[in-house]
Amino acid sequence: MSDQPIVEVRDLRKTFSVKHAGGVSTLHALSGVNFEIMRGETLGLVGESGSGKTTAGRILVGLVPAGSGSVRLFGHDITGADGKVQLAKVRTRLQFVFQDPYASLNPRMRIGSAIAEPLDIAGGLSRKDRNDRVAELLDLVGLPKTSIDRYPHEFSGGQRQRIVIARALALNPEFVVCDEPVSALDVSMQAQIVNLLLDLQDRLGLSYLFIAHDLAVVRAVSTRVAVMYAGSIVETAPKSQIYSDPQHPYSRALLDAVPRADPDYVRHPVVSGEVPSLLDPPPGCSFHPRCPFAFERCRVEVPILKESGPDRRVACHLFA
């Protein structure tokens, strides 16, 4: 593992304009996000609806422009004045896998053509090499070669996600953003896809940004975990620590809220309240209205993500 991170996100901010009957409001989707991803590792980005995890992932692959702050991919700043040029240089080295494999595949395109599409766009392969590569990719994700001539509707949800993964790997990317890749799948299918992603990482040395709301799935795939709440990262830590010793009160509340598949488990008291509106975020720490430990400073001053232990950072005044 080299010391240079392949992804470096610094003070990333993003707002969206929301039109409504009363005029236009500003939605604060990301309010200063920092993280990096090292080669070969998986950063799990976990949070509830509206936490900004999907927006962060989309900015990383250039699907949504950044507001302010910087995103460096393989050392290239894709957010500067020549961001488009820089992104084009690294385009083939990154890929994206979405939640819904039904929506990600053209229903009228045969699987072979769907998987070959990135190869055809990149060009430079003979007919035979192209077809060999498609066969190789199908094999890599555990689908039979006979799948080539079939259509998406002939496959189950889990198989379709395998097809989407095969297509994402066609150009040998080094970094893949996976946005809720197993959320639409049943438990027994979910485990198969999670294991496939782990196997592919071992074989191909991939790095992942794994975005999910399911903390248990994130634990299964991640090296490090970043917890997001209302547009900010509230805590990052190596996986084992975030689950055994969460520091931020929100991380703790989130873990406590997950129902365990154990009838004898006694749950901690449930956190009250709901996620704040991103149109009108509360002053200070965005979690303070729900936080059982909030004190005066939390209501006025936004906490900054700061070192709180080896390879750990937390944005909470309790740790200042």
Binding site: E48, L198, L215, R219, A261, R267, V270, V271, V275
Partner: protein, 330 residues
Amino acid sequence: MAVPLLSIRNLTVQFRVDTGWVTAIDDVSLDVGTGDCVGVVGESGSGKSVTALSVLQLHDRVTTRMPSGSILYQGDDLLRAKGSTMRRIRGSEIAMIFQDPMSSLNPVLTVADQISETLRQHQGLTGAAARKRVIELLGLVRIPDAARRADDYPHRLSGGMRQRVMIAMAIACKPRLLIADEPTTALDVTIQAQILELLRDLRRELSMSVMLISHDLGVIAEFAQRVVVMYAGRVVEDAPVTQLFRRPVHPYTMGLIAAVPALDSDAPRLTTIAGRIPGPQEIIPGCRFSPRCALVLQGCREEPPSMQMVSDGQSARCPPRIQVLDVRHV
């Protein structure tokens, strides 16, 4: 033994498709006793929602048939009940809440209007009396500032608040049985925990029986007292919750529990169940789980297995496993 509040007996439901009739659920039996909380768990296509919808006969009459079975509510077969009887039972005796509160609420009516409709239909409450009861109900489901919220339209409410409104509507007539079909699946995990806590409190306060349908074994373990596991349209296991998680008998139940990723420990890989869930039109002779079963025997592929008693209160649809367990116990 007392008559259970709800008793589904050998129910088979078929849907019409282009090529004929497909069997969505086959020979399903389950009981919900007074005050019980029964969880029905299964993956897509297991038939858990079809079972729930059958109780209130919410299926399209033209494309659905129930060639066998009965649904006994307090001893009377709902499948033979008159339309007027069913209309009385729906909402006032048995209420139902669904996964997506937004599509269950009318977007152009205020919260108060929608809840009042139930009160008018079943209890004849109108005007100020209905409004008073609406505000009381919103308070009961812990909606803050209930008097003001009553005049909001659904789009002004968060997902969690909408589900609270749905629950208020469901409990408006103090039903004896609440059927909750994936009530927290569309919600964030902290809101899910709040809604489950609310349902648990209401169940006690209103002494209501609950049939909870979920794909999430965590939700089931936390909420249910008894669990019915369904696979590909059939009940494969029925057991008290502790027994089900401590000593699952059916290989599918074992696989499903093992496949849940652990939150409190690490493993290099998740445990999987090989193969995939069959579609309703796929014909699988014998046990429908046999193509994926790690413990499959030759006989499993020939004879459809029957539900058999394992021990007091636990039964499973896997005679070979039960036989093995019996031998070990002797």
